[in-house]
Symmetry: C2
Subunit: 233 residues, 2 copies
């Protein structure tokens, strides 16, 4: 039996708490980070609060093993006096969308092997994909996630804007978006690259630029240049 | 019964021909565009060759109704002397990947209602999603597709590069990529936007930039600026 305290009340804390409530061999208590006076003892105390608040919250916790859940934060952001670790779930959590924990990669870090094994057991009680990721690797993953999630979503928004401006339903693009995402299951992104940039089809590129506003043009030119220089960098 | 000739031997022509072979109430003949001497008569002749070749190939065809399959080309690129149209399937076709035609949007255009209805019937014999899209709308869709497909795939490549440079398996990012693509089924891209750019989290942005090479930094800065200006443009 692993006893867990989850600190925080945002999306990550709530989804995690709900998952742990259903897990076998785990007991869990969720605590609001503004009410830290009476934290029960626990094998693992998971701080799932905003990055800026991790240091302060952790400094107030006397439990023996405290971990944070942030992809962007170093292990040493934790200011508790005892053992430290990281329990980072690499996924985008929305309030109203159900999360399938079996598909979430759990990126774990601890200061010693025993603590790592406890985190691993905990992750496996609600999920399937567990990775050992140190602070340097996690930082890289977090940047990479910004490219494939935040920035990709912004490209979807531009696609949506262009559709709106020309009275075409954005729905027409959704199957292509899904196919683009699933293609990399069988091809590397490098192999999967198609389009006028990689073909250096100057006519099409010029025609496209004519249709775009200044902001869209800047993104179009920057990414086209990057695709064409891809092999050199 | 609709009789169809498909001209071309690339991915689009071959996937389309294979689908039409299985359709009821359709007969189909596939012809290499270098062997145009003996084209059989047909209700619809579909030119599925590279954009540059459409004008020349179409000028040699005397069939009564000739359409091209290109998202980037105007209806008037066709140089046949009789009726014209467009049969554009908005999807990314790979040689070795099976295509699910039931999910492909068919974007159709014709010069008159009767011809449009023939194209619609043909599309519905192999697919389910049919849209009437004129040349101006199709051009916009094609640019939008470059953003959500070609450019998005390049962001995946950068994510992959960052993982390689820091010894993290790219597989860790794949569930996030899938979730990002499926999120827009229930949220608009504007609503789905998360991350340091939209939060204007300057610390995280600076930390991220330190980890990137010059080319990656340029893309990071350009898209971050665009996300932050999103509401003003």
């Amino acid at each position: 039996m692993i006893s867990v305290v989850v600190i925080g009340k945002g999306n990550v804390a709530t989804h995690l708490n709900n998952a742990l409530l259903k897990a076998e061999d785990v007991t869990v208590t969720q605590i609001n980070s503004r009410k830290l006076e009476n934290i029960p003892a626990a094998d693992v105390t998971i701080i799932a609060v905003s990055d800026d608040a991790i240091a302060e919250v952790s400094s107030k916790i006397e439990n023996s093993f405290v971990v944070h859940a942030s992809g962007a934060s170093d292990l040493n952001v934790l200011k508790n006096s005892k053992r430290k670790g990281v329990f980072y779930m690499l996924q985008t959590f929305s309030k109203d969308k159900k999360v399938d924990f079996s598909k979430i990669p759990f990126c774990l870090e601890a200061e010693n092997e025993n603590d790592y094994l406890v985190l691993k057991k905990l992750a496996e009680s609600i999920g399937e994909k567990v990775y050992s990721v140190n602070s340097e690797q996690r930082k890289a993953l977090h940047v990479a996630a910004v490219f494939v999630n935040n920035f990709t979503n912004h490209l979807y928004k531009i696609g949506n804007d262009i559709c709106n401006e020309h009275n075409v339903p954005f729905d027409v693009l959704k199957p292509l978006i899904k196919e683009t995402a699933s293609k990399i299951e069988i091809l590397s992104p490098k192999e999967a690259q198609t389009g006028p940039a990689i073909r250096n089809d100057k006519n099409t590129i010029e025609n496209h630029l004519e249709l775009l506003n200044k902001n869209q043009q800047e993104i179009y030119k920057t990414i086209t240049k990057s695709i064409q220089n891809g092999s050199k960098l």
